[in-house]
Point group: C2
Chain length 366, copies 2
Amino acid sequence: MTDDTAPEFRRDPVTGRWVVVAPERAARPMALRGAEPRHRPDRERKPCPFCPGQEHDTPHEVYALRDPGTAPDGPGWRLRVVPNKFPVARAQDPSPRPPPPGGEGEKEHGRCSAPPPFPGEGAGGRGLFRTSPASGRHEVVVETADHLADPAALSDGRLAEVFVAYRERLVALAADPALTYAAVFKNVGAEAGASLGHTHSQILATPLVPDLVRRELAGSAEYHAANGRCVFCDIVAHELADRSRVVAETPGFVAVTAFAGRFAYEVWVLPKHHTSRYEAITDDAAGELAALMRRVAGAMDAVLAEPAYNWYLHTAPLRAGDLPHYHWHWEILPRTSRPAGLEWGSGCFVSAVPPERAAAELRASM
Amino acid sequence: MTDDTAPEFRRDPVTGRWVVVAPERAARPMALRGAEPRHRPDRERKPCPFCPGQEHDTPHEVYALRDPGTAPDGPGWRLRVVPNKFPVARAQDPSPRPPPPGGEGEKEHGRCSAPPPFPGEGAGGRGLFRTSPASGRHEVVVETADHLADPAALSDGRLAEVFVAYRERLVALAADPALTYAAVFKNVGAEAGASLGHTHSQILATPLVPDLVRRELAGSAEYHAANGRCVFCDIVAHELADRSRVVAETPGFVAVTAFAGRFAYEVWVLPKHHTSRYEAITDDAAGELAALMRRVAGAMDAVLAEPAYNWYLHTAPLRAGDLPHYHWHWEILPRTSRPAGLEWGSGCFVSAVPPERAAAELRASM
């Protein structure tokens, strides 16, 4: 920044999306009185369907960590993955269609303006308006048997099991040839979209690669073609040398505020070494990652007074193999502003806090 | 829809973005208890800087509709455009750099994965992390001298003057060769980003074309190259024949629920005949458009119990000339859901209300 309040355009190095960092906007009425504080949903189902003893209220579990000798769909578990009772997409095709050769993700790497291949092409309207049955799988990771709202309240060891569970589900979902991408995400607080107050994550696996992931795949493929390197590896190297946006690091991971994020205090957590598929993470690395995510969430709680937030994984499409240009990472997005007409209408996001200042504040609270 | 509750993928015909329409999600706890109701900002400045007598509290007006004989920046006006006191971008270069040949918008039509040309290239960091002073102009359209919160409370004639003012400011801003795009948008209710309770719109003009507009330009150019027609003209023709998503129409315009919108009850208002530049609208057409926008906003108020909403213009870049593939339109976006980790993380939006049902409800309230 040339001076501390001059507004600045910044370009996201992966997707090319530009944002505005405008510190003087913090002076306007109603601006940044702090992030949206998180609350438990005020209309929770009682009894909580994610608590022990209520296993009959969820579909059959597909993964669980259980005490020896306990039966599926009964008590005795400490982590449980079940199909979502209100799925965004659902398994519905008894004889799944094989995916196009190479998978949709790979075919899309070098372009993003063209319409993506669409499942069931022509089935629900040819040409202009295309529809397709929303096939897929939508799962819930119940992270603990305790009725806690806050994932940071789990011990490092218990949270490590959550990050291992994400991996195990990606591996399992990849075995279904009808699925191309699995989005892993978490909503903390009703303001961030949580509809139940018992801490949980979600996995939505679909035959389509979602928009933002496609754009990252395309941007990183283009960068790799031009420079022969992974753009995320270059980001990691730059951030570790520069330090101004580094929030915390471990031997294998670094947490940085996003150079051109959509929200103030947006943090990315990246492996230091190149790896495109989250499925390849080891148990040890998952533990290291979980502990780092927990520390970052704790620092956000301290600096932003327990904000509502999301975390989500960006990883390669299922069965895409090891990609030289892509690099999985987590993004943690606190609700530090309320997107308005500019953001929804134009896609240009405005932040009143420079990422360097946000990183300094978070570092001081680690 | 094959049955009334089966979830469905839908593809936006312009950008290729896909969304999920999942009516059965409405059954889950906390789902769609109605849209976020709008409220006036609770920390408004007193006295209101947009009221008559407070003209000294805003920068000098750049456009106004005034009683004969009244002086600029004094009372006697019924509509006033002033620079934003807390600008996202600001004029700061005394000798503006000429734009690249052809303008950024034109150069970007056929691609969107590559980083866009960036102003001040190299000035704020070469290569990976690019920054640039946020040059531009950020203006406020104060739509009435009355301290009203609701634009639909204006008469058709007064609202027509607002839609003419948008045009006049686009024409004026196009004269600055440093500016490439002007985003026109409106926030209604604090929940939609309004920070002052006196009804107003904003115009942000920048040297860059914003992300979502670039994607529409790219998608529509590709459609035109493949089909020889404007994709928006084809949408209009299809919707007028099909009728299931038509909310209302006038001789020159049609309002439809978006086939694959991000929010339930999202409405697009399009000219029936091809026109890429909003600057070309006539006074009469602006009046017809304003009356239609007002009717749609009124129907949303009735169906969604006065929701917070935004409206924003998508039009061609400044000085882009008449484009055969692009077609200006307004989008009206009510806050019918709270984007969560899936939306922010993957770009996949989920709506619990099929656009055809939303259109039927809105039609019934016109």
